[in-house]
Symmetry: C2
Subunit: 372 residues, 2 copies
């Protein structure tokens, strides 16, 4: 078991002690409150030493006896009690299950004796937000709490993992792949015999590289998060980098969206900044497709697409982020804004279907012409 | 190898003979043309005996010397030549690769000697359409032709498959799953020890049922196509039904979208009607969530969602489809239109997290209260 993942008992203990702290306040006649780190953009900071987006030090206090906060207080305790029940009974609810299980109408009389009604929550946005609060307050990821969600990552390569007592050899998946589970921390990585990790933005490119067994020929691990990666794909990449010191290369389309996807793998995202220390891979390198590749690799003129206004706006935003401040990235982004052109990974097929896997990728890795 | 899948040699032979037929017309001085089954809605028919959507008998002739058709003629031959080249060289291009590889500007002089330009194709819609034409004309699926695309299906359960020489035991995937490859016809199903197939619309529900090993306890195969299923997930379901006579149950949300997803598994889709004979599973049963389940299973009032106008419009369309004409389905759809209410699978969690897997599903299968 990965050392970063707390045991089932530890998870339950931490959740219960969070609840007990509040119960003790009540039992000792004090006004109950919860302290929760603030998850807003204003409390998201760039950590230049660790090169990740992190949650700042600000905490918010939720007082039960504050009119403005009592609803959030109630929601937090309601969600906490549902999650604790699920852990005690060994259940694996989805975030949608949690939303439904907690959703009900509270009927009460107000201080003037009038009948009043209040919904515990109206939308899943509200219940999801409380789950995040419990994550930051307890330091437990939802994955640790056995909460299920969609998982879209795939992985193949020369490595063996162990899950639920089974050894799974990711070099023996044939034309298919191993679908990364929602909680990759519960996977034990038994053996890795690979020289690097190649993260591919697009699933179709992953399928192609897998079908021709690029990973076997190049001795690497091949992963895709299918566009904007989910938490489990990012966690898996992080673990391979952290626990096995493997270089990580990210391959995306040459456009603002692709550059951003790379940065999410490398530095984390604003909305999940509180998890960067577990999800981000500060050593990840952008292997392409770079703006300079358009000339470098003589991409045919009619494969080049005009950048949209959204692309350009997004690129300007990227330029302002501290994690895109390196000289290399500033050059790429400025060139992108000047040329107003983008290309897709598939544009490399203009030089033949084998060009990507036999020339472009190995050459870039060999010549170390990635971007950081 | 599955008997339905033609060998690599057979695929190349069929593609080449398609091309040779046209070459022979030219060589013998005749006007070249191609005959291609029409893929429009007007040529899509409901086959009540086999209970699938099928392509009708109409064929269209594309003459090289017809002004209106010569561009399509050129596109078809261009795409055919690219696919043949990929097969000869053992490449696995994506549909996007094929689009790029064929994309170029033809420069020519017209009959008045003026310089003219013509793009081979402008958008991927055009090149994809030609791929479909080649599929119907040759009777080969794109999967057979080694064309890659996104594949989103996952599968676990008591079965062993063989791919690229490896035996893969789908009961030993741990918390993860086997990601179905783009071409499941190249998987050999070695052994199946299961009583039925459960197809789950939603990935998060799949993850939950997998985490608690529902498939092991109930001895079934668990599959998800993540919403609207892709071709490879549908093909996998079809093979398990056809080759192993397994009953197939489909679990979706109780709304028009869910009902439609069920029908795509069972009867095929209009846009892919030419592949129904390989992709549809006419024996698939809808296990829920049914409109009658709202009362039957006492779904709490505040878990019920108001149906949108789109839901209602879609439900009316479904009522008009021949494949929703059974008494049971008419009742469900009419009730849906009358109640104007929908519920999600997760609403069953109102009765506890275990209710779906320990009560709802086993009871429905045991009591045979599915809908067909």
């Amino acid at each position: 078991m990965n050392s970063a993942a707390p045991s089932e008992e530890e998870v339950l203990r931490r959740l219960e002690s969070f609840g007990k702290k509040i119960a003790n306040l009540v039992l000792s006649g004090k006004e109950p409150y919860i302290e929760i780190p603030v998850r807003s953009l204003s409390n998201t900071v760039w950590d230049p030493v660790n090169r990740i987006l992190k949650l700042g030090p600000r905490k918010a206090r939720r007082d039960f006896f504050s009119l403005r906060e009592s609803k959030k207080f109630m929601q937090t305790l309601l969600m906490l009690s549902i999650i604790i029940r699920a852990r005690r009974e060994g259940d694996y609810p989805t975030i949608r299950d949690l939303y439904y299980t907690g959703k009900h109408t509270i009927v009460y009389k107000d201080h003037l004796g009038r009948n009043r009604k209040e919904e515990t929550w109206d939308t899943q946005t509200e219940s999801d937000s409380v789950i995040r609060d419990i994550e930051v307050a307890t330091g437990l990821l939802r994955e640790h709490m056995g909460i299920m969600h969609d998982a879209k990552g795939k992985i193949v390569g020369n490595m063996i993992i162990r899950s639920k007592g089974y050894d799974i050899d990711l070099s023996r998946m044939g034309s298919g792949a191993y679908a990364i589970p929602p909680n990759p921390d519960r996977l034990e990585i038994v053996k890795v015999e690979a020289e690097y990790v190649l993260v591919v933005e697009k699933d179709a490119i992953f399928e192609r590289l897998n079908e021709e067994e690029y990973w076997r020929r190049e001795n690497c691990i091949l992963i895709t998060g299918k566009g904007q990666p989910d938490r489990s794909t990012r966690r898996m990449v992080r673990r391979l980098w952290e626990e096995y010191n493997l270089p990580v290369y990210v391959l995306t389309d040459c456009d603002s969206y692709g550059f951003y996807i790379y940065s999410v793998y490398r530095s984390g995202s604003i909305s999940l900044s509180y998890e960067s220390e577990r999800l981000a891979t500060p050593g990840a390198r952008f292997i392409g497709v770079a703006v300079t590749d358009i000339d470098e690799y003589k991409i045919p003129r009619n494969y080049i697409i005009k950048a949209t206004d959204t692309d350009l706006k997004r690129a300007k935003e990227l330029l302002s982020y501290p994690w895109f401040k390196s000289k290399a990235w500033r050059e790429q982004l400025k060139l992108f804004l000047r040329r107003k052109e983008k290309v897709e990974i598939e544009a490399l097929s203009g030089h033949g279907f084998k060009f990507l896997s036999h020339n472009y990728l190995p050459e870039k890795i060999e010549s170390k012409t990635w971007i950081e």
